[in-house]
Amino acid sequence: MNNALKNALLNRLIGMADDELILSHRNAEWTGHAPLLEEDIALANLAQDELGHATVLLGLVEELNGKTPDQMAYFRDAAEFRNVQFLELPKGDWAFTMLRQYLFDAYETILYNRLLTSSYQPLADVVAKFRGEEIYHLRHSHMWVERLGLGTDESLGRLQAALDQMWPLTAQLFQVSEADNLLSEEGVFPLAADMADEWQEIVLPHLANCSLHVPTHATMLLAGRETHTHFLNDLLTDMQQVARWDPSAEW
């Protein structure tokens, strides 16, 4: 693999891993705070799955850049993270958390299906593994969007407010850089922009069935994955502080 291709792939792998890692952290923040005991357990499970996926993906990163998963997770600063912004926003209320999970699960389901045939075999192998687990996530978040959307005026109101806030940010999932063309030509990684239609075909009917209105005049976020909100700093301070207190500690 030539250097240009390798760097482009690294960038995408780090993006996938960071999406999982950051969302995992936000979901883990519900532990002990979810509205129902059962959901407390469910969120802890989601967070654990996502952390597992991040660890596996960072293992693929290590094969390419020699940095261990711990170095990547705990010793990079916000500017080096490549997650999309809507995953780093504070966990908000239950409607926000479940809608975010749903929109992201639908995206991941499509991404994994496409990556099954990636010409980069290690990546095809890991998504084959992730895919079965992801079904449980999507099923759960899909059901919650329905329950809240068709629930009370208040639950629908909160869900709609979450959608209004989040919708413009979802455009970031489908951003492409020039290097991505290279990956797509080599069959390594699908062009993110090509997945947008498929994603909309999944989420738009469900959102409509749940009495939600997708904002029509929103300004979509077109910034790249290297840009972040200040919320990522806060999250990293929390997530990284123990590891940074004593980098030489053995666990």
Partner: protein, 145 residues
């Protein structure tokens, strides 16, 4: 033995995929059940320990992700042991766990099929929580994957 379900072996779980013996070295190929399973490292050291007690010093454990582990690989004996442990075994699905696939699960206490899913997520990544409408007991199921 499985660290989280200490009545079933890693072979009965379908986790051990292959064992090869060459001169001085034994290689064991295993496949993880759930990616985020915290028992993975523990399983690896249990495998090494088990082979070493047979008098082999060099043990290599390879992890294989593809084809991904499926609960269909749990053996008949394994399923019986799960049930005796109070954990309803996963239904056979032939690789067809989809958004709309829902198991018909028998209560491991009274064998009733009149049961309902309470939570797809349970006390470990591999368990779901069900309730039996006949004996009214809640029970856990090993999730189909």
């Amino acid at each position: 033995m499985d660290p989280e379900i200490p009545v079933i072996s890693l072979i009965e779980m379908g986790i051990i995929r292959d064992v090869t013996v060459a001169a001085e070295q034994v290689s064991v190929t295993m496949t993880p059940t759930f990616s985020g399973c915290p028992a993975l490292l523990e399983m690896e050291s249990l495998i090494i320990e088990a082979v070493q007690t047979l008098g082999v010093e060099q043990v290599v454990v390879n992890k294989q992700l593809n084809p991904p582990w499926t609960s269909d690989w749990i053996t008949e004996t394994g399923r019986a042991k799960l049930k005796a442990f109070g954990l309803a075994p996963p239904g056979m699905h032939g690789g067809n766990v989809t958004m709309t696939f829902f198991d018909l699960v028998e209560c491991p206490r009274c064998d009733s099929k009149n049961t309902k899913l309470q939570n797809s997520f349970g006390t470990t990544l591999c368990r779901a929580i069900w309730v039996c409408n006949d004996c009214l007991e809640p029970f856990e199921q090993f999730k189909p994957l």
